[in-house]
């Protein structure tokens, strides 16, 4: 599929995703080695998005398994379709006389019924869930196992078999092997320590918040209409917010949302009023909002004082002050 790492970069960029060298290398290695990737990092830095663009870039179908507390095999792997089986039983009851016609001994009757029984536990009555779907798919697929840290430890252990051998055991049917080895991406927000065994089987990718430069690229790519200067200012502000002690730092997706909001509002530059009204797109906790506002007011005070010191008199001009109202 990919011959060099730069191929990966080009392909992902074509899907409007800006991969760092780390990401491109890891995806390339995963393709070559057939190993799953474990992507860890704060929420909203594009881990799930990576799976989507990876699937799109390689033309594979994306199968997603969202993990949560209490997720078990019946939800992730397969389930028997009881209702269908029940209907089938009734059908069988009607056909029972035909089936058992000419049978003289009990053993013979039991044998015939047993032959029918196998039909019950066949793939006909099986309801495939994401994992089984990914393994039995006719076409190669990309499997996204999202937020694995939310699932219980026992589910993680169950995943090991799937991830190392790409096969699953269904007691009634035996072992099902993958036709094509799916490309697997696991994401984790690191709320819980994952097991060593799982980590050992994966290539590890630590995705962090992008640098200002990368983030600006992302904003320009995702929100094309935004004036360059405004985009620059917006990214600077977001980067500064990330440096502050907040309960939840703004993620990349929130930066994009905010940039869209600014575009919708037809904002020309980031003045105080605009920030006041749109800051809640970036920050989701009241405490964080207040803290950020206080910091900005303080900043403004500092700047005014500095300017006064420099020039010996208070100065108010339009240029320079990012958070200054005008």
């Amino acid at each position: 599929m990919f011959n060099t790492i730069s191929d990966v970069k080009t392909a992902l960029s074509a899907q409007r995703y800006i991969p760092s060298d780390e990401i491109a290398t890891t995806v390339f290695l995963a393709e070559k080695l057939g190993k799953p990737i474990l992507a860890e990092g704060p929420a909203g830095v594009g881990k799930t998005e990576l799976a989507k663009v990876w699937a799109a870039a390689t033309g594979r179908e994306l199968i997603r398994l969202q993990c949560y507390e209490g997720l078990d095999e019946t939800k992730a792997l397969y389930e028997w379709e009881y209702a269908k089986q029940l209907l089938y039983t009734q059908l069988l009851r009607d056909k029972l006389n035909d089936l058992l016609a000419g049978v003289t001994t009990l053993a013979e009757a039991a044998d015939r019924l047993a032959a029918e029984e196998d039909v019950f536990f066949s793939s006909r009555f099986m309801l495939p869930r994401p994992l089984l779907k990914a393994i039995t798919s006719e076409q190669p697929v990309t499997l996204l196992i999202d937020e694995i840290d939310r699932a219980d430890a026992e589910f993680e252990a169950f995943l090991l078999e799937v991830l190392s051998d790409f096969q699953v055991s269904v007691p009634e049917l035996g072992t099902i092997r993958a036709r094509h080895q799916p490309m697997v991406l696991l994401t984790s927000n690191n709320t819980r320590e994952l097991s060593e065994a799982l980590k050992r089987r994966c290539l590890y990718l630590h995705v962090d918040y992008p640098t200002a430069e990368q983030e600006l690229q992302i904003v320009n790519l995702k929100v094309p209409g935004l004036p360059p200067k405004l985009a620059q200012q917006a990214v600077e502000l977001v980067q500064r917010l990330r440096g502050m002690d907040l309960k939840k730092h703004p993620s990349v997706s929130e930066t994009i949302d905010w940039a869209r909001a600014l575009l919708e509002l037809n904002a020309r530059h980031l003045d105080r009023a605009t920030i006041e009204t749109t800051l809640n797109v970036l920050l989701k906790f009241e405490g964080d909002l207040q803290r950020a506002r206080r910091a900005m007011v303080r900043d403004e005070g500092d700047r005014a004082r500095r300017e006064r010191d420099e020039f010996g008199r208070p100065r108010r001009d339009d240029e320079g002050g990012r958070f200054r109202g005008n």
Binding site: I5, D21, E22, A24, T25, T26, F28, L29, K32, L33, K35, I37, L38, E40, E69, G70, Y82, A83, L86, D149, D152, A153, E154, N190, T191, R192, E193, E196, K199, R200, C202, L203, Y204, L205, H206, K247, G287
Partner: protein, 462 residues
């Protein structure tokens, strides 16, 4: 290159990064696939296959340049590039003669490496250094010093003298001046590379020793370290540990509830669920028991207790989704309701300010009086569904014990549990009244470290 990667993996392990054999094999394959031409890709390939914990990333970043960057010692070259074959033959002979009579042994080997360009791998060099120098007890901060000492013990400075001797002999044998100068130059470059390699390996040795020592220290696991030994430095780490523990507890509680679905049969839900099977009860539903305790925590914030109290409250607040209501109180000489602080501030910040809500100084704990105040003013915080947790050592310096007030609380509460960091043999000594309160509690837990605290909190949900 393979050898270099292996050495790198050893160094990472020495620094405490856990790398399994499978992972080192992966690393080799990754390097093969990614190639070594582009340094950035090469680096990412190693990183993706070797480092699986965010906390190990700085270690990787620190060590990588040392092995593969500009800091890495250049490979040794074979001296004598500008010589004719006969001259080279002469060089080899003279070298043999000199080496044969050269002592001590380690100097002979160094000189040989310098003059033939056949070096050692990192691990061999380490062994060589270990065998020929006295063991150092220094930390990594003293690496330059330790390196100088190792070089001195290896008599590294005598190499120059030996080189001059050799050149002198070659000159007498009639080797051209230009070739000799080139030889000298190349030999000196080799010597510099050797010095650098020795320096690196000395550093790696120091790191390994540190890592081993760290492993040997038994109470390194924060969970098992007694509360009073935890310092402020550990705070960030502790917060992460507590969040992890809370997540663990949450999963455990969720699982326990799932498994305990053998409650009473829920007839209505069963009928509803089985309508689609024409009323045949295939899918039996049980009534789920939701355990969401209401908790009132009454914490001692005297100096000795502050750390435990902090961790306890942090843990309780990290478990907010498992607890239907929490009311925190703190006491010292007086008692205060600090719920408002927890509503307005983040738990970490709240814990810092709550001790200011109550009065008290050294030897001024007044548990009995505080219990009286509590029964007078705050009894609404206790009802028949509330689990009351006392967190304190049971010391009381100013007032007599107050079993009556305690009895009042107990009569109203669902359960009264006491978490005490003091060992039981100290209960009832001097000003301690624990022996009076303990028999009245439904459960008393001795909590002197995080692991015990978590086990005790876990008990609240069963």
């Amino acid at each position: 290159m393979d050898q270099r990667v292996v050495d790198f993996i050893h160094a990472l392990r020495a620094k405490g990064v856990r790398i399994s054999l499978a992972e080192s094999i992966d690393a080799m394959r990754c390097v093969e696939i990614a190639g070594v031409a582009d340094k950035q890709f090469f680096r990412s390939a190693l990183r993706a296959s070797l480092v699986k914990e965010p906390r190990d990333l700085p270690t990787f970043d620190e060590l990588f340049p040392r092995f593969f960057g500009l800091d890495a010692p250049p490979p040794l070259q074979q001296p004598g590039g500008g010589m004719s074959p006969e001259e080279r033959e002469q060089l080899a002979q003279m070298l043999q003669q000199m080496l044969a009579s050269l002592t001590p042994e380690q100097l002979r080997r160094l000189f040989e490496m310098m003059m033939t360009g056949k070096g050692m791998s990192g691990s061999q060099m380490r062994q060589f250094i270990d065998e020929n120098t006295t063991a150092t007890q220094m930390t990594t901060g003293f690496q330059p010093w330790a390196t100088r000492r190792a070089l001195r013990e290896l008599q590294f400075d005598r190499l120059e003298q030996l080189l001059q001797e050799l050149i002198e002999k070659l000159r007498e044998a009639g080797v051209g001046e230009a070739a000799l100068r080139q030889l000298e130059q190349e030999a000196r470059e080799n010597r510099a590379a050797l010095a650098q390699q020795i320096g690196n390996e000395v550093g790696n040795g120091l790191q390994q020793r540190e890592a081993e020592e760290r492993r040997r220290r038994p109470a390194e696991d924060l969970q098992d370290r007694p509360f009073e030994e935890l310092t402020y430095r550990d705070d960030d780490e502790m917060r992460a540990v507590i969040n992890r523990l809370a997540a663990q507890l949450r999963t455990r509680v969720a699982l326990r509830q799932k498994r305990a679905s053998k409650g009473a049969l829920d007839a209505k839900s069963t009928i509803r669920a089985n309508l689609r099977y024409s009323g045949v009860p295939l899918d039996i539903r049980h009534r789920r028991k939701h355990l969401k305790p209401r908790i009132t925590v009454i914490c001692d914030v005297s100096g000795s207790m502050r750390a435990v109290t902090g961790f306890m409250l942090m843990l309780v607040y990290a478990l907010q989704d498992q607890i239907s209501r929490t009311r925190p109180f703190v006491y010292y000489r007086t008692i205060a309701d600090v719920q408002a602080d927890f509503q307005q501030l983040r738990p970490e910040d709240a814990i810092r300010v709550v001790p200011e809500r109550v009065q008290g100084g050294p030897w001024q704990t007044s548990l009995g009086a505080c219990l009286a105040t509590f029964t007078r003013d705050y009894l609404d915080a206790v009802d028949r569904r509330t689990t009351v947790i006392f967190l304190g050592d049971g010391d009381d310096h100013l007032s007599p014990p107050n079993p009556r007030a305690f009895e009042t609380i107990k009569r109203r509460a669902h359960r009264v549990v006491w978490f005490n960091p003091e060992p039981p043999y100290r209960w009832g000594r001097e000003d301690n009244h624990m022996h009076i309160y303990a028999p009245m509690c439904d459960a008393v837990h001795h909590v002197s470290n995080l692991r015990q605290l978590v086990a005790a909190v876990d008990g609240l949900f069963s």
